[in-house]
């Protein structure tokens, strides 16, 4: 039996402080083993292995795609009607073809880089910079470098693209 041959940790070892996580794992394994043994005559191999094509759904509302049953008409309950409208809009949004983009992908990318997005190279470079580099950079800024960094800001997308 492979289970038998597997080495087991003694209780004394498991009670040690640094073995706590292992202890939980081992206990869980033992539990699983036990429950499998308990139900072994009920669960056959087929049940364990067969990948069934059947999904059982006991709710009529899900099967038949029933709508929510709380409705209001002609201003009986404005709060509820607002909710219904929102839901309807959402539904239509889902079924309608995707709305045309107001800003093209290209413009988006341009605007992104124009705003000096951090490049991969820059962020990786930071990793290799030393404390000294960092200090120097900071002090340089404080002393007022000839090219003070512009404050980053978003630019509006150009309006002439439609």
């Amino acid at each position: 039996m492979p289970a038998k041959s597997k080495p087991r940790l003694s209780r004394g070892v498991l009670d040690m402080k640094f073995m706590q996580r292992t202890k939980v794992k081992v206990e869980k394994e033992a539990d699983d083993e036990q429950s499998r043994a308990l139900y072994s005559n009920e669960i056959n191999q087929k049940m364990l292995n067969s990948t069934s094509n059947f999904i059982v759904e006991s709710s009529y509302s899900i099967c038949a795609g029933l709508i929510d049953g709380r409705l209001s008409f002609r201003g009986m309950n404005p709060e509820l009607e607002l909710l219904m409208e929102q839901e309807l809009a959402e539904k239509q949004g889902r079924t309608k073809p995707e709305q045309p983009k107001e800003v093209s992908d290209q413009d988006m990318a341009k605007a992104y880089y124009a705003n000096k997005a951090p490049t991969v190279a820059g962020s990786m470079g930071k990793k290799f910079s030393t404390k000294k580099d960092f200090k120097r950079k900071n002090s340089g800024n404080e002393s007022g470098s000839p090219h003070p960094k512009k404050k980053q800001q978003f630019k509006k997308p150009r309006s002439d693209d439609d």
Binding site: N53, I55, E57, C63, F73, L83
Partner: protein, 232 residues
């Protein structure tokens, strides 16, 4: 939803579904049961099919069997510890936690009394434990759920409740051409109604109950009757 009109009987094997299941996943709804690779009906009624591969039996029934995800109308029966007991027309009472309401905390409990009517979603349903309800959605908002005040409430068959809730059902829209109203239909065969006046509410309730016998097709006739009644 296509309505195939085959009637199945309990114990009947449905080989059409078995065939389909060989090639793709099939969803078996209420009234159908799987035994290994065979599919057997467990209720009597017309077999329904929804694209792509959902099947269920639309049987005639009055006793509600709780199912997860259903929206039901319940009557609060009592308070029990941290829960309310709610009658939803099933074999067992359902429970709903104090905390399953919008903005409810341990200190700020919802004000519910025995006899109140609530519209709730079934969170948990199993044959062995009592069903559990909630009155909030997954982000903790009330949405359409909650306590229903005033109005009239009556019971009908489960089928009628489901019929009203079908996506393409013309009934509720047709009724509102006659008068404004507010309605809550539980799939547990309970309907709550509220219109501007008592007379209108009674008229609506009778119109809906009449549908049980006549079916959707006669909705125009019923609406005409309703209109006549309200004018009288």
């Amino acid at each position: 939803m296509s309505t195939t009109s085959t009637i199945v009987m309990p114990g009947e094997r449905i080989s059409a579904i078995e065939e389909l299941a060989k090639s793709k996943r099939v969803i078996l709804g209420p009234g159908l049961r799987r035994q290994d690779d065979t599919v057997v009906a467990s209720k009597a009624g017309p077999l329904r099919h929804k694209e792509p591969s959902t099947f269920w039996v639309d049987n005639y029934q009055r006793r509600y069997i709780p199912a997860r995800g259903d929206l039901v109308l319940g009557i609060v029966r009592s308070k029990a510890g941290d829960n309310y007991r709610v009658d939803i027309g099933a074999a067992d009472t359902a429970s709903i936690s104090y905390l399953a309401f919008e903005a409810a905390t341990k200190k700020n409990r919802p004000d519910l009394n025995p006899g109140d009517l609530i519209y709730a979603r079934v969170l948990n349903a199993s044959a062995d434990i009592e069903p559990e309800l909630v009155c909030v959605n997954s982000v903790g908002k009330r949405g359409k759920l909650g306590v229903l005040a005033e109005g009239f409430f009556f019971k009908c068959t489960l089928n009628l409740g489901r019929m009203l809730l079908r996506e393409n059902c013309p009934v509720l829209a047709a009724l509102t051409r006659e008068l404004p109203y507010e309605i809550a239909v539980g799939v547990n065969g309970r309907i709550w109604l509220k219109a501007h006046s008592l007379r209108e509410t009674i008229a609506l309730a009778n119109a809906i109950v009449a549908l049980e016998q006549s079916g959707c097709a006669e909705i125009d006739k019923i609406c005409d009757n309703l209109g006549d009644f309200l004018q009288a």
